[in-house]
Symmetry: C3
Subunit: 352 residues, 3 copies
């Protein structure tokens, strides 16, 4: 299938920026600096890739103002080359259209309202009273519980599960294996046995959210679990009951967030980090990968708690002292006192 | 749908405890202290929430003996308010009944025995010789392997997979995406290539177990993987082959337990913790979140190994010394020796 | 069903090694040392299990050369007892044959090419143009995207999802809940909102790969994500976009690998480890469980970064100093300088 090609002039007419070099150069696809070929548009995200830029076979490149003259290739100059690239790539790679209609193998319960422009794939199950908005695509094998509401233009990849009564916003993208609205981990100890606490809250998800493959978001125990507008969740994240995630926060893979924690807006959380329960995380907080947050963070900023790796032998030699750090600290204090005592004694003698 | 309301007097008649204030107060639902309204029953789990208690709009509240007089609201006094709340909530929020019978889109292999009171949802596949007990609900898209046995009153949410020959107890609740009985990670190195070790054990699960969304429990390599009665597993937990988990142990999300480890009864394991393979963990052990257990624990108690987080700059400044801890310890020792040498020399001179 | 029994003589004829003791001893199944019975073949993987060997009820045992005389049981002596055991177990426990053909409930899009010897289970969905090779088994509820290519003899357990255009090699084993080819986590910040970067690469998987339950492998952003021949991935692993994993590398459960990292051949990565993005890991690198790798590793060897656990109180007492390590180090330096100053002063006086 031949791809449609666009002139750089057409692209800047649509997305802004300015062209340097031949504005009639055409591109039909985006590519990375080192694998791009003629007809490909690439981008320079950072000046540290100048060497790759010099060697690229791309037809054209998107660069920042500072790099406007760093290549002779036809180029688009933009204040934010990576965002510009995202826009052009989305334009050149539109999501495949799925045909409206309900596959005959899907099972739709009574009272479900499915917009006629929505696509319901094979082996989908939709519960009673669920509402699915215009132009949604619910792909093969998804399970949509009773009473669920899904906005418009949502895309649920195969095998997503949404439990009953959850509310999903417009333009949601949920990847395969995501589970939205399973019971939170609410148990009470009663004479040596755990009693289950019914989880009667919901999950409420804003607009423009993306949820990665096999990520789980538990329903609230009593009140709702809430995911704000524009939140981006990578794969295999666990969001416990009654967590609230502020708008435009991005969370990388394998993060676990314990119950009733509130995360601010515009936060960025690195892979495999953890956040304990009942904490408050301010807006604009960055948390490094592999870091456990075990108390609230009230100030924007970057926070880290990573044990540095080393060769096994070196690690063993050093780590053994961690069990005696308090002892080491006391020995230092003791030494300081002894030195001070010496000083006062001998200083006295010397000045005497 | 109007909810049924109960008098506090009715509730204590059923669940014990005593009423203070108007025993004819009716409640129809449970709620959190700060979102409760008239007709809601809330609870005080800890005295630290007295401020919220003072502000609650709840119709009634469950309190402990120590807090019996901490509010003028109609209240139920119980020795264990949280467990009491669990019981009342379960009573007010019964699981929805699912109709007995097999959905026509389900595929049931020959020789499978399904109790006529069981519910088999759409797109379920049940393998040859599987047995599913009375009042089980196997929801949409579950896959039950050949020879699997499931007890009575089990609830499998949509898209649970159970591999062949596993044995699941009564009242199991398994959430979506859980995978029970996949092959353990058994491989042997043979001249630069990995050979697969067939995993011929099963997973055997006791009664009253709950398994969270996307949790995986691998089948045994030779013998079985065993989950005891009353065990509660949160989401995204990985239980490797031949692990044994003792009764009434609760494990929070994202925990990984490596092969052949035995965990005692009544343990509590925090989120994202890890336990290496071939270890023994005693009964009544608590393990903190984000802690790796790399040797057996023979004594009950609480165990932790968390790297404390701090601001990035502070972390960087401190963490660099971890690669030199052994050096620091040696320098302290050296200082101590020098001081001791001084002391013996100068003490001598001073007392001389 | 009675199992077929084989003489030790038959087994060594097929797999090599030599028999000590009665070569007519028959075995029909493998078992662990301590649960083996007559008719079972067990193995001694390490000399540290001599006590269990003495007590075993096995009919025969596989031992290494060094242990050839450590039992009087009929035995097979092999240079690599564990690999030998793997081969015999695979021989005694062949994968169940699945009947060729397409289940009537499966939904196969136009233009998909499915080898007539392949098995397509119930509720499978296969997209347009997908190609599935000879003797593949695609079990219940799998979703195979448009344009996917699967080699020969692949086994996809129930509910595996493969997104469009991915390429899977021969003899792949993928466990339930695995998601291959979901979008990588590519987002660009644009005036306070995240823009999605279309993920137009694929996942390309070599031959003889195994993928654990609920493991996720994201498709490339621009180029492909590549998994080499013979790679073994345990459960709940997250492989981000554009990661490349070299041949015969084995990765334990819950590991997260961030984007664009390249891992060498023959590496071994422990459970819940993490590797940041854009790193290079050499061949033959071993990474311990729970270790974060945050810079490239250019030398083969074993690497660790684990915070040692201890009792809660002890941990608290010691960990507090981690926030002041730099201060401790400075105090040690200060002490050293003071001692040195003393020395030069008093040494002088003493020798005077």
């Amino acid at each position: 299938m031949k791809r449609k090609a666009y002139r750089l002039a057409d692209i800047v007419a649509r997305f802004g920026g300015r062209v340097l070099g031949d504005a009639d150069t055409t591109v039909s696809q985006v590519a990375a600096l080192d694998s791009a070929q003629a007809g490909h548009l690439t981008f320079l995200s950072s000046s540290k890739y100048h060497r790759q830029l010099a060697a690229t076979h791309a037809g054209a490149v998107i660069v920042g103002e500072a790099d406007a003259e760093s290549t002779q290739l036809p180029r688009i100059v933009s204040g934010n080359p990576y965002a510009y690239f995202a826009k052009v790539s989305s334009f050149l790679n539109p999501a495949p259209q799925m045909l409206p209609g309900i596959h005959p193998s899907a099972v739709i319960a009574e009272g479900a309202q499915i917009d006629p422009t929505a696509h319901i794939g094979p082996h989908v199950a939709v519960g009673a009273g669920a509402r699915i908005g215009a132009r949604c695509a619910i792909m093969a094998g998804c399970s949509i519980g009773a009473g669920v509401t899904i906005g418009e233009d949502a895309l649920l990849h195969p095998r997503v599960v949404v439990y009953h009564d959850c509310v999903l916003g417009n333009r949601l993208v949920a990847h395969s294996g995501a589970v939205i609205g399973a019971d939170g981990f609410g148990i009470a100890m009663d004479e040596g046995r755990w009693l289950k606490i019914p989880q009667i809250g919901r999950v409420v998800i804003g607009d423009d959210v993306e949820i990665g493959a096999n990520t789980t978001i538990d329903r609230g125990a009593l009140d709702d679990t809430v995911i704000g507008d524009g939140v981006k969740l990578d794969n295999q994240i666990q969001v416990a009951h009654n967590v609230r995630i502020g708008a435009h926060t991005a969370i990388a893979g394998c993060v676990g967030i314990a119950g009733s924690t509130t995360i601010g807006r515009h936060c960025r959380i690195g892979g495999s980090a953890g956040i304990l329960g009942h904490l408050q995380i301010a807006d604009h907080v960055e948390i490094s990968s592999f870091t456990l947050i075990n108390k609230s963070i009230h100030e924007p900023g970057s926070y880290t708690g990573i044990f540095p790796f080393s060769g096994n032998g070196e690690w063993r030699k050093n780590a053994v002292h961690l069990r005696h750090l308090d002892g080491l600290a006391k020995r230092i204090k003791q030494l300081e006192q002894e030195i001070a005592a010496f000083k006062s004694t001998h200083q006295g003698k010397e000045t005497a």
